[in-house]
Symmetry: C2
Subunit: 330 residues, 2 copies
């Protein structure tokens, strides 16, 4: 295992310390229990958005804390769920009285721990559960579909509504809508290595890919020989389109996400190949996002997410955001 680290035990803490120091104008990091908040307090009357999950998917979620997105993030150890005391401490810090909305990816451990935190809380709260991965039903750590890259889009769009004064129930409803409107699927060319494990999560042959891979290296639909980018892109898109059923001329957001070890050139090439297929189907790319946002450590791979848009979603997508990883309009 080759990683920039000093010890598996200190990996998360040192990384958080660096993140907090590099972006002290945007975030504050707290330790024992670990959580990240905006550097400025939540406005009175604003719904507080909190997400979290195992580390290893950066910039999600810590890099998405800031104006227009999250109020706090709770990072667990790499690929391990955060504990309820992290959510409780974060909630206590950022709840300004309008309630807390938890944005939770559908993994059994995350779901259980966020539910436990919700039960222990005295104030009003609600949860949005993301499960956008169309690859498989049920998986190593999941009952039902996995929550993956669309979580980034949920955080952006609901973050905007919360910033503009949406109520807890309105924010939850919008988050559920973005999740329902989204479908994702990914492919891996390589595994990733959890620092504490010291060896790759799975093995792939020199000419193989895992088709429909999960963001922790969970198995997908099948192991296959590596194909051309256009073939891979087409198959990912067809699976998403079959699930999502966007209509002719419907506006969509096309999100090409890197798994951490894939260069931008290749992500843009996938974007080009995806555009060719979508153009052919008269599905209109109205907004887009390309980059490493929902990663799996150093995994080489990529996922595609489509989100069906309407005016409400576009308005909240376009609104100002100021986080470490996404910044526009201010």
């Amino acid at each position: 295992m080759k990683k920039f680290m000093n010890s598996a035990d200190d990996f998360l803490k040192e990384s958080l310390q660096g993140f907090g120091a590099a972006h002290e104008d945007i975030v504050s990091c707290y330790y024992d229990p670990n959580f990240i908040t905006r550097s400025s307090p939540t406005k009175d009357g604003k719904v507080a958005l909190i997400s979290g999950g195992g580390s290893g998917h950066e910039p999600m979620h810590g890099g998405l804390v800031g104006h227009g997105m999250l109020d706090a993030a709770c990072p667990g150890f790499v690929f391990s769920s955060p504990t309820p005391d992290q959510m409780l401490a974060a909630s206590e810090k950022v709840d300004s009285g309008a309630g807390v909305l938890f944005i939770v990816k559908n993994y059994s451990g995350d779901v259980m721990n966020f539910e436990m935190a919700a039960e222990m809380m005295s104030g009003p709260n609600a949860s949005v559960l993301t499960n956008d991965d169309v690859a498989v039903e049920d998986s190593s750590f999941t009952t039902g579909r996995r929550g993956v890259a669309a979580t980034v889009l949920v955080e952006k769009i609901v973050g905007s509504l919360a910033e503009s004064g949406g109520s807890l129930q309105e924010c939850k409803a919008l988050g559920d809508k973005v999740n329902t409107n989204s479908g994702s699927m990914g492919v891996a060319f390589s595994s990733c290595t959890v620092p504490a494990a010291g060896k790759p999560t799975f093995e792939l042959g020199a000419d193989e890919m895992e088709f429909g891979v999960g963001i922790h290296g969970e198995p997908g639909r099948r192991r296959d020989k590596v194909k051309s980018a256009q073939e891979i892109t087409n198959e990912l898109l067809e699976a998403i389109i079959e699930d999502l059923k966007p209509e002719n001329n419907e506006d969509i957001l096309l999100f090409v996400n890197g798994m951490g070890g894939t260069p931008l050139t290749e992500l843009y090439l996938i974007y080009d190949n995806a555009k060719k297929l979508l153009d052919g189907k008269n599905i209109k790319i109205a907004r887009s996002l390309v980059g490493n946002y929902c990663t799996s450590l150093e995994m080489q791979g990529a996922s595609i997410t489509l989100t069906k848009l309407d005016q409400e979603l576009v308005k909240h997508w376009d609104s100002a955001v100021h986080t470490a990883a996404m910044r526009w309009g201010m």
Copy 2:
């Protein structure tokens, strides 16, 4: 070789097409010869900034075209210099009469081709040559030191001066100053694979790193066993500090750059480890940048750049920028 590609011949074109489509609000891409400009024309009387070089270092340079940075970028094939006709076509498109400043990394091919373009131009032009890599004198493709990640900082800082009306000579002088004030050094945990070559540029043992590696996989100071992040960070910083000689309490910009295949968690961990050493030497981190900006395809590795700051540099660093890869203040 596992890459998202259809053929080595179409790799660059399809990637550029995707880049242009995903960011059509910021850039326009042109083909045969290949170059990228802002989507809106250069203001009359504004010095035009043009950079370029082999592809494979994305987001540098195409992702740095936009308000407050470059007016155009000329991408060569992967790790191959762009040709003079690319610079000439780009110059013709973006020169608004105030002259063209070329920002060129010190590689023999780039230097020769940019010089040739400059000679063929009728209008006023000048060049800034970056050579911030302190690892080695002379290298596979270089006489003198290599130009690496500080090129991103030169483009940001000079881009700001050009935007605010600086003359061609003022822009050149500021670019030279940023380069002189900067030192960089990198380390690789893995090689990278040029699409047209189909196999890794160099081989590294399972426990080895290339210390002082170049951004095309050129040899560095030595091959060594992988060490702890703190040891690697300390040695990179000591080499840069020995060269740059920042003084006690001098403000610096700390730039932790990923080579393409290194997750953000590890880059922030390096930042933390670097801060510990710099704090101990009373060198003040006044500004910072962390991320994959000057990459080497999918190489796992990182580099550190220090830039000595003064008020002029800080002002131009902080000013508004709107490119695909760097965006703030607007």
